[in-house]
């Protein structure tokens, strides 16, 4: 099980700041695979498909690194306003 955290507008789309995600025991999982699976569940996340940044255990991480049980995966969208 890993913990997924959503920030900013991602949180609005998912309707929760965090959720637990069961890793498949058979093979290695990456943040990219988690993200793709989240987009299938929450299609509106697809707007941010290539745009999110990923942090694993509070450090920015490559989307293709391997994650393990107990990790915390956070997804961040770009935020623009300044605001005028």
């Amino acid at each position: 099980m890993v913990k997924i955290l959503f920030f900013a507008t991602l949180k609005d789309i998912v309707g929760a700041g965090s959720l637990n995600f069961q890793l498949l025991p058979s093979r290695g999982t990456t943040p990219q695979q988690v993200w793709t699976s989240l987009i299938n569940t929450y299609p509106d996340l697809g707007r941010y498909r290539e745009l999110v940044q990923v942090a694993v255990n509070r450090k920015f991480a490559d989307r293709n690194m391997l994650i393990s049980d107990g990790d915390e995966i956070a997804f961040f969208p770009p935020v623009s306003g300044g605001s005028k």
């Binding site: 745009l51 509070r58 450090k59 770009p78 623009s80 605001s83 005028k84």
Partner: protein, 337 residues
């Protein structure tokens, strides 16, 4: 006013020598909306000796809820924000040099505006300007401090070329136009501005007195009281900006292209990096506030006297003005960055 900085110099991180450094520093605040107002005020009070505030917009009633330098009278007078800001900042601290510049910062004037800057403070409201600032910062080795806020969310980190990741290490390109919310579609709470700005100003002061900036990115939700920092590693290996030193925004190869449409009192705005807009998504967002007409070729709506038409290829035609800077403001406000 010998005492004016006494409480700040007592703080060991600043001290008397730090105060002297602040007094001889130059900061350019790009954009004087909410983050720019709050940031510029703190920097002026802290005694940053040379403060330039650049903004292309004018004060409106809807700014007053959060843009702390402006008054009702400024809105009634349609005063440019840079002019109103300069006046107030001078009355707050007459011992520093304050300059308000009414301008749209572009690749053509950024060198002139920033060549003496020790640091660029981000008070802008769109990614295009931030990517331009980032290019300039990396090319010239001048730090900048990113800040952004939307709804109750805020984000900030300092970019110190060579030490921290740059904006393009994190986000390789600006989000597609219409794909992300703007303050005009998602709203904005004043307290998140102050939270983000506090980090921006603290990191600005650190850098100006010669300390390293934090290498953490702050993300917060002020409404739900969630604050989170994530550690940034060094610059991204292979980053097109800070590793390959490619500066398309600074060289004008990417950026808004705007054309006055002759005799029509209209301006066309076009970002070449925007190839496609999902009109339906944009119509859903804008439809919450405006009466939107949508067909397969364009989306059209009216904001006061301006009639805005948006096309799927990213172009917008804004009728009711021939002012390029105003057209660009409307574009980033209602279409996106």
């Amino acid at each position: 006013m010998e005492d004016r900085y006494s409480r700040q110099t007592l703080f060991p991180g600043i001290g008397r020598s730090g105060q002297q450094r602040l007094n001889s520093s130059q900061v350019v605040v790009v954009g004087c909306g909410a983050l720019g107002s709050v940031g510029a005020e703190m920097l002026a009070r802290a005694g940053v000796g040379h403060l330039t505030v650049v903004d292309r917009d004018f004060v409106e009633a809807s700014n007053l809820q959060r843009q702390s330098l402006f008054t009702e009278q400024d809105a009634v007078n349609n005063l440019p924000k840079a002019v109103a800001a300069e006046r107030v900042l001078r009355s707050i601290n007459s011992s520093i040099d304050v300059k308000g510049v009414v301008a749209d910062i572009t690749f053509e004037n950024i060198v002139e505006l920033c060549h003496e800057a020790d640091l660029i403070f981000d008070g802008s409201d769109n990614f295009e300007v931030r990517f331009l600032i980032n290019d300039y910062s990396v090319r010239e080795g001048v730090p900048w401090v990113y800040g952004a806020a939307l709804g109750a969310y805020g984000i900030s980190f300092a970019v110190v070329p060579g030490h921290t990741p740059c904006l393009r290490c994190l986000f390789s390109e600006p989000p597609a136009v219409g794909s992300v919310e703007t303050c005009e579609t998602a709203g904005i709470l004043a307290p998140v501005i102050h939270a983000v700005c506090s980090k921006q100003v603290a990191q600005t002061l650190r850098l100006l007195v010669g300390e390293q900036a934090s290498n953490r990115i702050l993300q917060l939700d002020i409404w739900d009281d969630e604050w989170r920092t994530v550690e940034l590693q060094g610059p991204l290996e292979g980053c097109e900006c800070c590793s390959q030193r490619s500066f398309p925004y600074l060289e004008g190869r990417i950026g808004s292209r705007m054309t006055r449409l002759c005799g029509r009192n209209a301006v066309q705005v076009h970002s070449p990096e925007v190839r496609r807009i999902e009109l339906r998504d944009l119509a859903d967002k804008l439809g919450q506030t405006f009466e939107v007409q949508l067909n397969e070729y364009l989306l059209r709506f009216k904001v006061k006297e301006h009639d805005i038409s948006i096309f799927p290829d990213g172009r917008a035609i804004i009728k009711g003005t021939d002012d390029l800077s105003l057209a660009r403001t409307l574009y980033s406000r209602y279409v996106g960055n």
